[in-house]
């Protein structure tokens, strides 16, 4: 399957009717820039009907590795070639979660400022949680980035009772603030 462009979507269960869960992986190339590597942070938000995070316990990141409903869990150490990974048990996602948004941001606590335009490469992919076979991967999302410090990578969403994945690749120059504001995450 050819790499998915920004904006493209795929009906997961049309391709894989028995799909129970997925691993969302992010693979970034910072060109050896340690500050970028250290501060790139994966954030996964379980979003309700109103477009907002269902609760503070439905935001998954390094300081909260598992969502309150246990459906979504970030790995402390990604497997394979990815730099960060989140597992989503699609069958365990509560009904009031209408989509799951995967994002990265550059944490600003180190005193050094960088932006995502400095990334050499940024690819996301989806694996079958059962067995780890690759389902799809994206085009290089780093292309076209400049001053962004946070980026919505992709979203899993429900449509007609099925799960779909959409590749996003759009972001904010306001970092985590931008993500927090869009999804109602209290800072």
């Amino acid at each position: 399957m050819s790499p998915m462009a920004k904006g493209a979507n795929i009906a997961l269960q049309r391709e894989l009717p028995d799909l129970q869960g997925v691993v969302f992986g992010v693979d970034w190339d910072t060109g050896g820039e340690r500050v970028l590597d250290d501060n790139l942070t994966l954030l996964t938000i379980l979003v309700g009907q109103n477009g907002m995070a269902l609760s503070p316990d439905h935001v998954v990141y390094f300081n909260q590795l598992v969502s309150a409903d246990l459906s979504t869990a970030q790995l402390q150490q990604a497997l394979g070639g990815d730099d960060a990974q989140v597992e989503v048990e699609l069958t365990a996602v509560p009904d009031d979660v209408s989509r799951i948004v995967f994002a990265i941001y550059l944490s600003e606590g180190s005193g050094s400022s960088r932006n995502l335009g400095q990334l050499k490469r940024l690819v996301v992919r989806l694996l079958n949680l059962d067995g780890g076979a690759s389902i799809i991967s994206s085009v290089d999302l780093a292309e076209g980035l400049s001053a962004e410090t946070a980026l919505k990578l992709a979203e899993l969403y429900r449509l007609g009772g099925q799960w779909k994945l959409r590749v996003l690749g759009v972001g904010y120059s306001s970092g985590l603030h931008g993500l927090a504001q869009e999804f109602g995450v209290s800072l």
Partner: protein, 331 residues
Amino acid sequence: MTIRTDLPYLRARSLRAAQPAPPAPAVSPSPDLADVAGSVAEQPSASLDLSAPVVPSPAQPPSASLDLSAPSAPAAPAVSASLDLGDSAPPTPPAGTPPAGTSLTLFDETPATPPGGTSLSLDAPSQAPAAPSRSPHGHTRTADHGLGLPTINAGERRPMTENEPVVELTRMQSAAGGLDAKVAVSNPSEVILGLVFETGDSRESLVLPGLSQQGPDPRRPIFRATTSGVAVNLRRITDIHRLVLFAVPTRPSKQLPGGTVTVTTYGESRLEIPLVAGPTLGAQALLTGYVVEGRLVLRAEHDPYSGTLQQICAAYGYREISWRDPYTPLV
């Protein structure tokens, strides 16, 4: 058939003098953050009352590491009244002492430890969501114990008074960006801020501007000196166990100026800690921080005890540091 050679309006639109109003009302569907923030910040009232004034406990810490040979040694180190989590030698609370005067003793949070492994000597109501303990694929989540401590909203300013010296940051506040500690006094050159800390892997060290700019690992620091204070990189919160923010006078007279020390989060919550004017023996502890189940609990110490920096560190349980002299750590 007209062959249009320039359909210019496809590239640049003409301006219309009077544009018909769109039929739909122009209501911006902007997210109502205030509501979300408000509901999130709601916490049940504290069942563990840490807001009582700090009364030095009669219980001395069992350790004898205080340097009593120093001049004017303090009577009661503040460690007995502080929120002491996972200290290597936790003070034993005397029987019958109300919770306010005793320590809250938690062991280190280890993510791999099942909920039962976290001992908590407080009976605050658990706010752990009622979720199954294990998902089909085996995802588990350690229980969150509601600490029941005061919280703070984004953008809020909070004077850390003696009556309400404690603030518990949320997991997100404890992980977003960094904490920035700055001193607000009329003559900033009279005082510097420093941090003594213990990492998750039990390393103790200090950041002291001019002596030790960052720590623990200079290539990937968690704590660092800034132009006007010190900062904590909360991207590394999982590597932090505890910390003390202190002030050191720069004048030979060892006089601390009066003023305020502010600690600001990524969400612009601002904790304001009074810096009391007066003589000191070398350092004054201002704020302690402990990481409790991924949440940073910060407490203004209002500590009248004054000592050398070495004594202050020892009083707060940082004993794994070597000293060049009582004022100068060997870093």
